[in-house]
């Protein structure tokens, strides 16, 4: 945007017009001519006068003001409204030439400006003037009533300026008529051309300034909104280069702990927060919560409402557990309820400024900011808002603005206007599902802080405001009843799973028990078999032994009792059986 190409032949002289000196990289070209064009009431005369007054006051340069259109008296009176004491300056540094031609003047033939320039030259030498203004040159040109003569006289002035080395400012009324366009050659002749515009958009008046050409110098070619302040003309500053604020890392609570968490600690002190949403999405409630919390911290707070009266605000917020009345009583909180009236947004911001200067708040709520203009997207209006927000930043005031907005993308006015200058943008939308509307809160952006990108459900009740997680199931965000249903279903499903699991567990336990039992049986059987085996082995061993002994015994028993042998054998068998029972019991 800025391209201050170094050009050795162009030196510049400051005009004292805030912003203009910046976009031109030093003001108007010194020793050259600058043309200021514009329709009536654009501030041409103020522009020219301001440059002279600045020259006289700050640079101690003497100047001459040639008025073709207005009386000297009129101009001095106008200047007084900007606090410029022209009569005081007039004594040494400023010379006014009333160059109006009375309507009674009779024109009889061609004339030129040599006489005037001669007179002025003498004056220049007398007061050592370095700057000169020809205010309303078109009036003089119209009198010449001859295109060739007009051109000749304009060139005469330019040549005169070049020879005298004066820094010239020529103002010219610019309209849409043929006659106005006839003076177009002026633009080609001068070294610097500035166009001032005064237009009415939706009943609001906007002034703007544009540098059309600047020979031998770079300049910002954009159309810049201008305001007429008590100190004169001023460009509304834009662009980050000029924004220097004391930046703080201090966080302050939004009033909603969950929201603070989402913002990783709350709003930045001195930042501006935008809460947008459709009607009824609890924007005011969030703003009220912020105000209440600020008051609880003991911070002076100003609540500006364009919607409702103070009493209504207090009552409505009471219904969701926000109590503003005590703070209002203690004087910490001031509720300023007003109507958007009059067409001029800048006046509205001016009123807010004086309210702020009177109450000196640390926290501010504007509900809704969008009330200030239906079309904040309009450059000048958005800029007035920007300028106001810059002012708040400079003062370190944290501001929560609400803005009526149905969707994030549909309302481009807000999307391109205020939302771009907000530090933190929270959007509350309705999600309609199964015949129900629920509020969903999202943080669209938050400068200088990490923030949750999750959607939260905003719930209002007479106990207060809460944020809860939302469920996303089958690709849908679930809230309200839908969410309750979903939760119930989830619970039932969980229960079903629990029961099924328990059943399975029991079944498995049973199976395990059975297996264990079977294992026992097998084991017992095995032991029995082992025992049997042992007995068998034992028995086999005894048998062979028995055979031998038996033989001996038989041999003996041939002489003894046969039945005793049999009885012994029978007892041994019984003993084995008894051993098996014992194993079974174990």
């Amino acid at each position: 945007m800025h391209n201050h190409a170094a050009h050795p032949s162009v030196t510049k002289t400051l005009t004292g017009i805030q912003g203009f000196d910046e976009i031109t990289g030093g003001g108007v070209p010194r020793g050259r001519t600058t043309l200021v064009m514009g329709g009536p009431g654009c501030g041409k005369t103020v522009f020219a006068l301001q440059a002279l007054v600045y020259g006289a006051q700050e640079a101690k340069e003497a100047s001459i003001f040639v008025a073709f259109e207005e009386s000297t008296r009129h101009i001095i009176a106008n200047a007084a409204t900007f606090g410029w004491d022209l009569p005081a300056l007039e004594k040494k540094k400023l010379f006014f030439l009333d160059a109006r031609l009375s309507p009674e003047v009779v024109k009889a033939g061609e004339f030129d400006l040599i006489g005037m320039l001669t007179v002025l030259e003498a004056k220049v030498e007398e007061i050592h003037a370095t700057r000169i203004v020809f205010d309303g040159i078109d009036v003089l040109l119209a009198l010449l009533d001859n295109p060739a003569a007009e051109r000749r006289e304009i060139y005469r002035i330019r040549d005169w300026l070049l020879t005298t080395g004066l820094t010239g400012v020529i103002t010219q009324k610019l309209g849409e008529t043929e006659a106005d366009r006839r003076y177009g050659f002026l633009q080609f002749m001068v070294d610097c051309a500035v166009v001032l515009r005064h237009q009415v958009v939706d009943g609001s008046a906007f002034r703007s300034l544009r540098v059309m050409k600047y020979r031998g110098s770079g300049f910002a070619a954009d159309e810049f909104p201008i305001t007429l302040t008590e100190k004169g003309l001023q460009l509304t500053h834009r662009g980050p280069a000029e924004l220097i604020y004391a930046v703080t890392d201090e966080r302050i609570s939004s009033g909603l702990p969950r929201l603070d968490n989402m913002l990783q600690g709350g709003y930045h002190r001195g930042s501006n927060v935008l809460i947008s949403g459709a009607p009824g999405t609890a924007k005011s409630t969030l703003a009220g919560l912020f105000a209440e919390t600020a008051c609880q911290r003991g911070e002076r707070t100003l609540y500006v409402s364009f919607d409702e009266g103070a009493a209504q605000i207090v009552r409505n917020l009471q219904s969701v557990g926000i109590r503003l009345a005590p703070h209002q009583k203690s004087g910490l909180l001031k509720i300023f309820s007003t109507r958007t009236r009059g067409p001029n947004v800048e006046d509205q911001f001016g009123e807010l400024r004086s309210q702020i200067q009177a109450h000196k708040p640390r926290c501010l709520v504007i509900d809704p900011l969008s009330a200030l203009s239906a079309k904040l997207a309009h450059l000048a209006s958005a800029d007035a808002a920007q300028q106001f927000l810059d002012f708040l930043k400079g003062e370190g005031i944290t501001v929560v603005n609400t803005s009526l907005m149905d969707g994030l993308s549909t309302d481009e006015a807000t999307a391109t206007g205020i939302s771009t200058i907000a530090d933190t943008w929270i959007h509350v939308s309705y999600i309609v599902h199964d015949g129900e509307r629920n509020r969903a809160l999202t943080i669209v952006k938050s400068r200088g802080t990490g923030h949750s990108n999750q959607v939260r459900e905003l719930r209002l009740s007479n106990e207060g405001v809460t944020l809860t997680d939302v469920f996303i199931a089958q690709g849908k965000v679930l809230m309200g009843v839908a969410r309750w249903e979903w939760e119930q279903e989830q619970q039932a499903a969980t229960k079903r799973i629990q029961v099924a699991t328990e059943l399975k567990r029991l079944q498995l336990h049973l199976a395990q028990a059975e297996a264990a039992a079977r294992l026992q049986v097998v084991q017992t059987e095995m032991e029995a078999r082992s025992a049997e085996m042992a007995v068998l082995v034992d028995a086999t061993g005894s048998a062979s032994e028995l055979v031998t002994t038996d033989r001996e015994v038989l041999r003996k028993m041939r002489h003894a009792d046969k039945d005793v042998r049999v009885a012994t054998r029978g007892r041994r068998i019984n003993g084995g059986k008894k051993h098996g029972d014992e194993a079974g019991d174990a």
Binding site: E110, D112, L113, V119, E121, K123
Partner: protein, 97 residues
């Protein structure tokens, strides 16, 4: 340098502001002299002021353009601008009609 053409019994007093040898100024001098000779030969006082030489005087009389002819007397004072080539217009103004 101011040039004065005086006659007794002054009834018409004129002052013409000019700028050196500028064409419009030279024409105006010629024209005013011709008009005076033709219509006010008997009684007129014509002062020609060259602003190049007396810029301060132009300031006092509020001279913006050159040439400018001032009819100082008889009252009311009248002001005619231009080369005065529209002699009929000049004559009418000077006679007060």
């Amino acid at each position: 340098m101011a040039t004065r053409l005086e006659t007794p019994n002054v009834s018409l007093q004129l002052r013409l502001y000019v700028a050196g040898q500028a064409p419009n100024s030279l024409r105006a001098i010629a024209n005013v002299k011709a008009i005076c000779d033709e219509h006010f030969a008997a009684a007129h006082d014509l002062e020609i002021v060259d602003l190049i030489e007396h810029p301060g005087r132009g300031l006092a009389d509020g001279i913006i353009v050159t040439p400018t002819l001032l009819k100082l007397l008889p009252l009311p004072m009248r002001r005619v601008i231009g080369s005065l080539s529209d002699t009929e217009q000049v004559r009418l103004t000077l006679t007060g009609t």
